[in-house]
Every structure is written in structure tokens, then in C-alpha cells.
């Protein structure tokens, strides 16, 4: 085969489909007019996998953008914010205070303050679920957190595991790619089975991936393998939660909160139903950050007065 024909073959090969790629999302509350606001604050959550920018106008959620984090944290922060600003015609100069959070919080070039994602998720969950939220489970892209908070969303206990992919979004992306099924379909398909299978390894995603391949070869359907992985993930995060205990008022944040396959299995293991919210669960950290900014600005205004 000539070099030219090889090049031509490569050029015409279909691009590899990225099954792990989840839906990016931008939203603005068009019933509100930000131009008449007294205080506009912004929270930027730069995570290892996803980045969110949230705008809060006079203490209320106004808009957000959720997108995949690139290989550069400052650019990810800028792009996330630009996405939501473009949606509503806002400029950075219109925003009174910006709080950065997440792994890349110190790399948000326009942030006034950095606050950890632990505190921000608690604050965001308190807004989304109400003041009865007491236990928060955040399943992020590359870490998993269990948090207790009080009625004001102040953290009273927390525990985070960021060493291992098991129980994180990254693990789910690996399975999505392995099964060649879009990540958004994994949860619903995990229920389309005859009987609930045993979990695959909940210790390590590498082991879980090997086991998943073995199960396929043994005759398991893809749906059954996905169910086994969802169960493993649920068991993993429940063990994390049980280390600090689960109080009534259970709320799940992060991208995996949108995966019913994992959420329903967690609820079954705990015997507690997770609180529901109409707000995208993935923005909890950035929302909490923006609300922290609002509180800080109010305090400054009170001091100035």
C-alpha cells in the first residue's frame, strides 16, 4: 500500500465516537432582568472533569454554564463564565464578586476569593434542597465527598476520597466507553434486566473493567454488566457515607446524581430516598460559591454602612 493511499484511508476513516462525552448545558432565567439587580455574584467551579459558572442575582440563581474542563484551568474558568455571559449579554465588569472553587480554584484569574468545594457544595445543596438538607453526597469527576451540614449549609463533618477512580464519574466514563453506550443512557439501561446481578469489583476501576469484559464473554448482556457496575459504584460510595453516617435530609450533587442507575441503588442500600431538585445537580459547587460571594458582599455593605 502506498503512503498516499494510507493517508487517504486515514483521512476518510470515521472519527471515533466518544461515548463518555456528556451533555454540556447553559441556561439563563429569562424571566429575570439582571440589569436592575443590586448585587451580581459569580461562582466558578473548576473541577478535574467539568467546569461550571453560576450567576446569582440578588441572592437568587440566575444562570449557569456547565462544560468539560480543558487542559488549562484559567481558560476553562474563562470559557465557562463567557458561555453564560454570552447567553444574557453580561460583561465581567457587571459582576460585583467572583468566588472560585474546585481543584482549579486558585487558577481562576478573575476570582476575588477561593473557597473549598466542600463548603461550596454544602452551601449549594442547602439552596437547592432547602434548610432540611443534612447529608450531602457529591460524586464528582475524579473524587467523591460525603458532607454533613447544618440548617444554614455550614459544614459540620466531611470526608473526601480523591485517590481512587472507583465511585467517581471517571469510572462511569470508562464503562461507557467500554460498553460503547452513551453515558446518559447507562442509568436507564441498568434497569432493563431480568434480575439484579452481583456487583463487579468496587475496589478498583481497573479490576471492574476487567471483570466487566469477563462478564460479557460469559454471556451477560450489556445492560446486566452496566447494572453490575452501577451496583459496585453504589456500594463504594455508601461505604464512604457510612464512615461519617447518614442523617435524614439526604442530597446528592455532582454529575452522577443524574444517573438513576447509581442513585436508586444507593437509596436502596441506605434505605433513604434522596431529596429531589429541579436545579442541575452538577452546579451545586459553583452555586454555593456564588452564594458565598453574595453573603460576603452583603457583609461588606453592612460594614460600609
Amino acid at each position: 500500500m502506498s503512503a498516499t493511499s494510507i493517508e487517504t484511508t486515514v483521512e476518510t476513516m470515521p472519527a471515533k465516537k466518544e461515548f463518555w462525552r456528556w451533555q454540556e448545558n447553559v441556561w439563563v432565567d429569562e424571566s429575570k432582568d439582571w440589569k436592575s439587580a443590586k448585587l451580581i455574584t459569580c461562582g466558578i467551579d473548576v473541577g478535574s472533569v467539568s467546569s461550571q459558572a453560576v450567576l446569582v442575582v440578588d441572592g437568587e440563581l440566575y444562570g449557569f454554564n456547565s462544560m468539560r474542563t480543558g487542559n488549562n484551568s484559567p481558560d476553562s474558568a474563562t470559557n465557562a463564565l463567557q458561555g453564560v455571559m454570552d447567553k444574557c449579554g453580561m460583561q465581567l465588569s457587571d459582576i460585583h464578586y467572583v468566588v472560585g472553587t474546585g481543584y482549579g480554584r486558585v487558577n481562576v484569574p478573575f476570582a476575588h476569593k477561593a473557597i473549598t468545594e466542600i463548603a461550596c457544595h454544602a452551601r449549594g445543596a442547602n439552596y437547592m434542597g432547602g434548610n432540611s438538607v443534612r447529608t450531602i453526597l457529591d460524586m464528582g469527576g475524579q473524587d467523591c465527598k460525603a458532607i454533613h451540614c447544618d440548617e444554614k449549609g455550614k459544614v459540620t463533618n466531611f470526608l473526601m476520597n480523591d485517590k481512587c477512580a472507583a465511585g467517581t464519574g471517571r469510572g462511569m466514563e470508562v464503562i461507557s466507553d467500554l460498553m460503547q453506550i452513551p453515558i446518559a443512557e447507562l442509568g436507564p439501561r441498568s434497569f432493563d434486566i431480568d434480575a439484579e446481578p452481583d456487583a463487579v469489583s468496587s475496589v478498583c476501576v481497573v479490576f471492574a473493567k476487567s471483570e466487566a469484559l469477563g462478564l460479557l464473554k460469559a454471556g451477560y448482556t450489556k445492560n446486566k454488566v452496566i447494572a453490575a457496575y452501577c451496583q459496585a459504584m453504589a456500594e463504594r460510595v455508601v461505604s464512604l457515607l457510612e464512615r461519617i453516617g447518614v442523617e435524614e435530609g439526604f442530597f446528592i450533587t455532582g454529575g452522577i446524581a443524574k444517573n438513576p442507575g447509581v442513585v436508586k441503588r444507593i437509596e436502596k442500600l441506605l434505605g433513604i430516598k434522596a431529596m429531589e431538585t429541579k436545579v442541575d445537580s452538577q452546579i451545586a459547587g459553583a452555586l454555593g460559591a456564588a452564594l458565598f460571594g453574595y453573603t460576603l458582599m452583603q457583609k461588606q455593605g453592612a460594614k460600609a454602612a
Binding site: I118, V155, F158, M160, D162, K163, C164, V203, L240, R243
Partner: protein
């Protein structure tokens, strides 16, 4: 607030818990900072602007190895950090 630093992996669970309510007005003069041979603790301002001790980030993922030199297998009857912390804020999970 109880702050847990550490991880769970295939070999087990390793967490150091710090009760920040006992840590804020430390009656032991932050003795834990010097007591730890690996100097794993440092004082920070937390998210609520309280001065508390935490486990340094790089050490959070290597606790099993870093703390092994202070465990009973290394000849210690008690952990130097928990002994130094007379308010009882520091605890080990393993």
C-alpha cells in the same frame, strides 16, 4: 466541624480526623506541628475564617506510608500527634 483527611484504596481506609471546634483555640500551643516527624500538619484559615490545623495536601494521599513510622509496628505505644494534641482534636482511623 470534623474534617477527615485521607483516602480509601484497595489496601484499606486511612483517615486522620481533626475536630476543628477543639482545634480553634488550641490549649496545647499547636504542639502537633512539631510532634509529627513528617511535619504533615500546618495551620490554615479555613472556609469560615477560623485558624485550624489540617493535613498538608501532598500527605493526604500517602498517609498509610507517612504514618507507618509512628505506628505500633515501629515501636510506638501512642501516636506522637495524638499525644501532643491534649484537647483531643486529632484521631486516626487505623
Amino acid at each position: 466541624m470534623i474534617a477527615n483527611y485521607g483516602y480509601k484504596d484497595g489496601s484499606g481506609e486511612y483517615y486522620i480526623s481533626i475536630d476543628t471546634d477543639k482545634c480553634i483555640d488550641c490549649a496545647a500551643g499547636r504542639a502537633c506541628l512539631e510532634a509529627c516527624p513528617k511535619q504533615m500538619f500546618e495551620v490554615i484559615a479555613d472556609d469560615y475564617d477560623d485558624q485550624v490545623v489540617w493535613v498538608k495536601k501532598p500527605n493526604c494521599r500517602t498517609l498509610a506510608y507517612d504514618c507507618s513510622a509512628c505506628k505500633p509496628a515501629a515501636g510506638y505505644a501512642s501516636l506522637p500527634c495524638t499525644l501532643a494534641c491534649t484537647p483531643g482534636a486529632i484521631k486516626h482511623s487505623w
